[in-house]
Amino acid sequence: MAINRLTWKIGGKAGEGIMATGMIFSQSCSRGGLHVYDISEYPSLIKGGHNNLQVRVEDREIFSQVKGVNILIALNKETILLHKGELVNGAGIIYDSSEVIEPKEINDNIRLYPIPFNNIIKEIGVQGIMKNNVALGASIALIDYDFGIVGEVIKDNFKRKGDKIIDENTRAAKAGYDYIKNNFKNDFEYKLEKTGKPGRMVLTGNDAICMGAINAGCKFYAAYPMTPASSILHFMAAQERRFNIVVKHTEDEISAINMAIGAGFTGVRAMTGTSGGGFCLMTEGYGLAGMLEVPVVIILSMRPGPSTGLPTWSEQGDLKFALNASQGDFPRPVLVPGDIEESFYLTQVAFNIAEKYQTPVIVLSDKNLAENHKSTDKFDPKKVTIDRGSYADPADLAASLDTTFFKRYKYTENGISPRTIPGMKKGIYTASSDEHDEEGSISEDIDVRIKMMQKRARKMDTLAKELKQPELVGSQDTDANADADITIIAAGSTKGPIKEAMILLEKEGIKVNFLQIVYLNPFPSEKVAEVLGSAKKTAVVENNFSGQLADIIKEKTGKDVDKRVLKYDGRPFYPEEIFTAIKEVVTHG
């Protein structure tokens, strides 16, 4: 018997409400004090293709999906055929009893729970689409979880749709629950119990980015839909009136970034978000923001390329693109959150850096982080204080002449020039995409060009000085091992499965340290070089083909990592895969 440790999976045709049912399950577990991590897979089409969502549940904090499914809800036969190989011994399949399953199709150790969905639905008089809920209820009975919590979650989730819908959904789930209780023995090996502390949020990285942006005072969001960034647009649009934000679905990504620049120039905290293809269109605007020294936050949520690639899958293949997009040299801070908390806090930091250093800032995420849900403690909205950077002193402005432009691009030691915004008397200037002098006037003068390039570049030096170097940690965020067998270096969403893999490695007696790169630029060269110089062995773990992070490390430190653990099939790393790869490096080099 295993209590509070299982993976639940639901699969069926796209358009059958799989994601919504999965969310109800995740939230029900979280409300019972359990930790959840879910991951969904869906093709780039709307109706008919295969969708599935997998929820891992435990009574400790968990950071990624793992291999092995304990309970599979198959809304169609295809789901069984596609996922039966993932089932562990003693796992159960809940499916429609009208499907015929040949004994040879399924391993003996798997338990079958056929349910007459259509009869049940007819009996209780609800629509066919409620099949999901019948199945959900059945799974709750099987794992012996508290149905009351599920009922509450259904009520909250369908609040806006009215009492009738709430009632139908609840009755459907309850009918499935009762069917299992009345027709099968209570001997399923995997169970869930309420425990610990309820009240965690169940949310995605994109949700966290939006909360971070709203908390940071983002007042303008412009974007063009593109997976996996679209849900940022939906979230911000849904909240625009509650928090007084202007959200614009633009004609294209070129417009989106130029609008964000317009808002930033006017003095409003502004953001845009897209994936690689959209960012291709934004690159000219990205450079414009760099040249005008206008603050803008850009969320770049990666999916596999090149071109349209795998639209609804994940990859970390745009690291070099983010670092090098647009012509010329200018400060390009790039922040890479590794989990949901960091998505929240770093988005706020991104706004501060953008305003303080008057430059565009990229927050680099990916589909895994953007769209997978995790139960997460509520954030601390006061942790990151808003820093709006330096504005021209009104007294200085009052004393200045009426006939000239304000020195908006004044040469300063730290590279940061106090700004003015439209409406400020005597702060008048023109922001120019042409090279310009301190007053913003176009200039092709040799001296001006050199000084202005250096001034902009100094902002990056100032920022680099302000940032802390990253810290090496051991398994479960403990202090680093003094004599680790290997050090893993990574950036972004691979953090989750790496943390899980570290636990597995420790159990095998392998001592492992982890260095997470959060700032791709300014890059923490000092610390990375030190680690590469002292670690017994090093490996990068990246979701891309070529090992872009390893290349960047080489560029910045001159040193090679010993091993590149790479995956580029569009799927996230499983901890087991990292475990095997790292163990192999440690034992065989």
Binding site: Q27, R200, M201, V202, M211, I214, N215, G217, K219, F220, A222, Q239, E240, R241, R242, N244, I245, V246, K248, T250, E251, D252, I254, S255, A256, N258, M259, I261, G262, A263, F265, T266, G267, V268, R269, G285, L288, L292, K378, F379, P381, D402, T403, T404, F405, I421, P422, G423, K425, K426, G427, I428, Y429, T430, A431, S432, S433, D434, S441, I442
Partner: protein, 285 residues
């Protein structure tokens, strides 16, 4: 009272002597003075081209951005601070070529701002290639055997895309132009003004004289600006007689009118240090 000198800058425009842009700049300044708008409350947004340099030669806030992308910038400036008077200025290549997508969408958005296109029917800054408004057959550096396509019709496009103020003027007639710009700014909603602008260096067909012989004032001719079909008919006139003036004007709610978020306070004036997301976090538990 705002004076002409308040808008002057020390640098002199570096357009070619005789360029039609000078007339447009004078009319623009004249309109701002006539409307008595404080220079710090004006935002002059442009893309790239000879025309795109206007913000550098008028003492208002300005943003001289990238080729073809001025309208999205201007849109957001207005939405971020709807107390500002926002102008977008740029060339025919900028607005009807590379920026055409934004042109159409801005016309249908009805943001309360003014868009002035310096239409010289040529690419000036890049030394004389064909533009979307070049007439069929015109020989330029990029079309040595003559343009094969027919020109775009900005007036007809703007009307059909939903613009609420559509006008045309001529840089060689500063009085008419200033009057048109004043009407454009006074109009609540998106105002579009296509301006014939002689390019003395690269367009030797559409000269000051060419225009002077052809243009006639719609208002003097008693044109009904409230009739969309008549406006559309007028937009098709070309050749010996070319109409200038206001083709079409209609009042309809602006984009800003539809945003309760900025009804009381412009975005830029809204305080951000005390935003409470606790309810939002609760929604996710």
């Amino acid at each position: 009272m705002v004076k002409m000198t308040d808008l002057n800058v020390i640098d002199r425009p570096n357009w070619c002597p005789g360029c039609g842009n000078f007339g447009i700049l004078i009319a623009l300044k004249g309109a701002i003075v006539e409307l008595n708008i404080e220079p710090e409350n004006v935002a002059m947004i442009s893309g790239i081209g000879c025309s795109g340099k206007v913000p550098h030669w008028i003492r208002t806030y300005g943003l001289h951005g990238i080729h073809g992308r001025a309208l999205p910038v201007a849109t957001a400036v207005k939405l971020s601070n709807n107390g500002l008077t926002v102008f977008t200025v740029g060339g025919d290549g900028d607005g009807y070529g590379i920026g055409m997508c934004h042109f159409i969408h801005t016309m249908r958005r009805n943001i309360d701002m003014t868009y002035i296109v310096h239409n010289n029917m040529i690419y000036g800054l890049t030394t004389g290639q064909t533009s979307p408004t070049s007439e069929k057959g015109v020989r330029t550096k990029s079309t040595p055997s003559g343009v094969i396509e027919v020109p775009v019709n900005p007036i007809a496009l703007a009307i059909s895309a939903g613009a609420t103020f559509v006008a045309r003027s001529f840089g060689g007639d500063v009085k008419h132009l200033q009057k048109t710009i004043v009407a454009a700014v006074k109009h609540r909603g998106l105002s579009f003004v296509d301006v014939f602008q002689p390019c003395v260096s690269f367009n030797n067909v559409n000269t000051y004289d060419w225009y002077k012989q052809r243009v006639y004032d719609l208002q003097a001719a008693g044109h009904d600006t409230t009739d969309k079909i008549k406006a559309f008919t007028k937009s098709q006139e070309w050749g010996e007689h070319i109409p200038i003036g206001i083709f079409y004007e209609v009042l309809s709610p602006t984009y800003e009118d539809e945003l309760p978020q900025i009804k009381d306070t412009p975005l830029v004036k809204q305080l951000i240090d005390n935003i409470d997301i606790s309810g939002l976090m609760d929604d996710f538990t």
